[in-house]
């Protein structure tokens, strides 16, 4: 530790992405974060590295190059086969201290949100949780604020500097990490001006995956750093890893999502069948849910859309009997086309919907299915 001083900012360079693997397979979030990390590394004029921990995982590393990684730092040990907080934190902090990255992104999965805070606390640096937008370049950041906020021009221009320990600080090289707070009612852009690496966990499903490029994958450099890891220092032991018995619903990958909410509570089973039929008519998709039905035990958590569930941006999102609490809207407002059916004409869901029908979902949905099928038959 004696040689690691993370307040000498110019000693730190490159963007890193923690590449999570489960059972030897990369997670979809890894590709999203590598793609996003590429943009940030270009804005900073530095290289982008993935860091991959596991047992015998070198073979899956080069694929990350195809999405933009210049190299992958691979740390292998039988003790790293399954994720444990102790072992992963220990190895990552050692390699960070050796190689000194400037920014470090971690997917905000259940594992990333266990690992990120532990590493940030050990490295004495700042971590911003569950980010939905990242920028370095001030021009791009200001354009983002112009599009995504109600801030007046003068306030947007004033973001060039921040008051840090009472002194103005130029934020042009800082990573601007934007995230929702208070259930999505407020957005905040966070910086970590005095310490490196700047750390962020990034919400899965939000960053767009780049096109895969085989030549770049072939050219991806593999780096195997030295590290020390002793079994006797590990205080947690993984007894088993169980996959969910039922195949989980892939909300994030779906082009069509038909979600049901509290308005369906009188007959959830019937509403679910209708929703699935509508999703199929609209081109094939899955059934999502608002938090209300998940909390009430009617729907499983893998179907939940919203702040504490999944963030989705399908081509078509249909909200049946969902009032549109901001926590739900935060997870679906970026869908390309939003259709809402609700009995209450003042339901906030109609504020974000492209098309709204005020009516009972049990009556309207069958008519919609029929009309969509009829329209498709004309083609």
């Amino acid at each position: 530790m004696a040689t690691f001083n993370n307040t000498i900012l110019e000693d730190f360079h490159d963007v890193w992405v923690f590449c999570e693997q489960r059972q030897g397979k990369l997670m979809p979030t890894d590709f999203e974060l590598i793609s996003e990390g590429r943009k940030l590394a270009d804005e900073l004029g530095v290289k982008l590295y993935g860091i991959l921990l596991g047992d015998n995982v070198e073979g899956i590393a080069k694929e990350l190059g195809g999405y933009g990684a210049d190299g992958v730092i691979v740390c292998e040990s039988p003790l790293l086969k399954e994720y444990t907080t102790d072992a992963y934190t220990d190895v990552i902090c050692q390699v960070v201290e050796q190689r000194k990255p400037e920014a470090f992104l971690i997917g905000a999965t259940n594992i990333g949100r266990d690992l990120g805070p532990r590493c940030a606390a050990r490295l004495h640096t700042g971590l911003c949780a569950d980010c939905t937008h990242l920028d370095v370049d001030m021009g791009i950041y200001k354009n983002f604020l112009k599009e995504s906020s109600t801030l007046p021009e003068a306030r947007i221009e004033a973001t060039n500097t921040a008051l840090v320990l009472g002194k103005p600080h130029d934020v042009s090289r800082d990573l601007k990490m934007t995230r929702p707070a208070f259930g999505g009612h407020l957005m905040a852009s966070i910086i970590c001006p005095r310490f490196r690496p700047t750390m962020a966990t990034v919400r899965p499903g939000v960053m767009k995956k780049a096109e895969f490029n085989q030549a770049k994958a072939d050219a991806c450099e593999i780096i195997k750093p030295e590290f020390e890891l002793k079994a006797e220092t590990l205080k947690t032991k993984v007894l088993s890893v169980e996959k969910a018995a039922k195949k989980l619903v892939d909300l994030i990958g779906a082009d069509v999502i038909v979600s049901i909410g509290r308005g369906a509570s009188s007959d959830v089973e019937k509403a679910m069948a209708m929703a699935q039929e509508l999703a199929d008519a609209l081109g094939g998709g899955v059934v999502g849910s608002s938090r209300a039905l998940v909390d009430a035990g009617f729907m499983t958590a893998d179907r939940q859309v919203g702040q504490t569930g999944k963030t989705v941006h399908p081509k078509i999102y249909v909200a049946l009997g969902i009032s549109g609490a901001i926590q739900h809207v935060a997870g679906m407002q970026d869908s390309e086309c939003i259709i809402a059916v609700n009995k209450n004409e003042s339901a906030p869901i109609f504020d974000v919907a492209d098309y709204g029908i005020c009516g009972d979902l049990f009556k309207v949905t069958p008519m919609l299915i029929e009309a969509v099928n009829a329209e498709k038959a004309k083609k």
Partner: protein, 266 residues
Amino acid sequence: MKAIVCVKQVPDTSGKVAVNENGTLDRASMATIINPDDLNAVEAALVLKEQTGCEVDVVTMGPPPAEGMLRELLARGCDKGYLISAREFGGSDTYATSQIIAAGLNKIGLEADDIVFCGRQAIDGDTAQVGPQIAEKLHLPQVTYAADIQKNGNTLTVKRMLEDGYMMIEVQTPCLITCISELNQPRYMSVNEIFGCYDKPVEVLDYNALKDDPLIDATTIGLSGSPTNILTSFTPPQKGVGMMLEGADAATAEKLAGMLAAKHII
């Protein structure tokens, strides 16, 4: 043996949320509640108390009115409350907050068979960071997203949820566990306990009480000790109002399907 539960008082974001003109939250106009996941952490500790007879302490950091929340938790069956409160602690980010709460836990005294429980995350910030960061500062092993906890002597077997399944994890006390709603069903206050809750002790841990802990100094607490700064905060703009269709009958459905087809959405 003790179970120590870290809890937070939060604005109720599921109800009316008011935002000031300058983009900050109008906390004064909002109701406060005990953070929902923290109630699952409290329940886990109370279950342990029933099984082992251990003491249950609740700890919070916040302004003086947070004592009311501690009293409510004493009325649910907790034994002792600690309120960490000082102006010096204000403005702390998750790093600085965990530093202060860890010092508070040092003051309370953590023994070899103790367990620290936290909720997974608080609904105001949704960071899920303070629990793991407290564990790091106290060099405790952690298990997050706990959906089941079995205790056998000083060994805990915890079901830790993942998005696509779960892990079974074995850990020794002392340790820190973060709890999710699947873990249990929090109990209500009981009439007897409500009568008794004002006889139970609530101790205030202020700056003077914690300042000698090596975790506490100006570079690690409060605004100046926080590695992160807020550059700006803002409210997202309302999306342009969409089209409300007339009626809710077959003709309405046909009109909508026609428009979707015309725009090549279907």
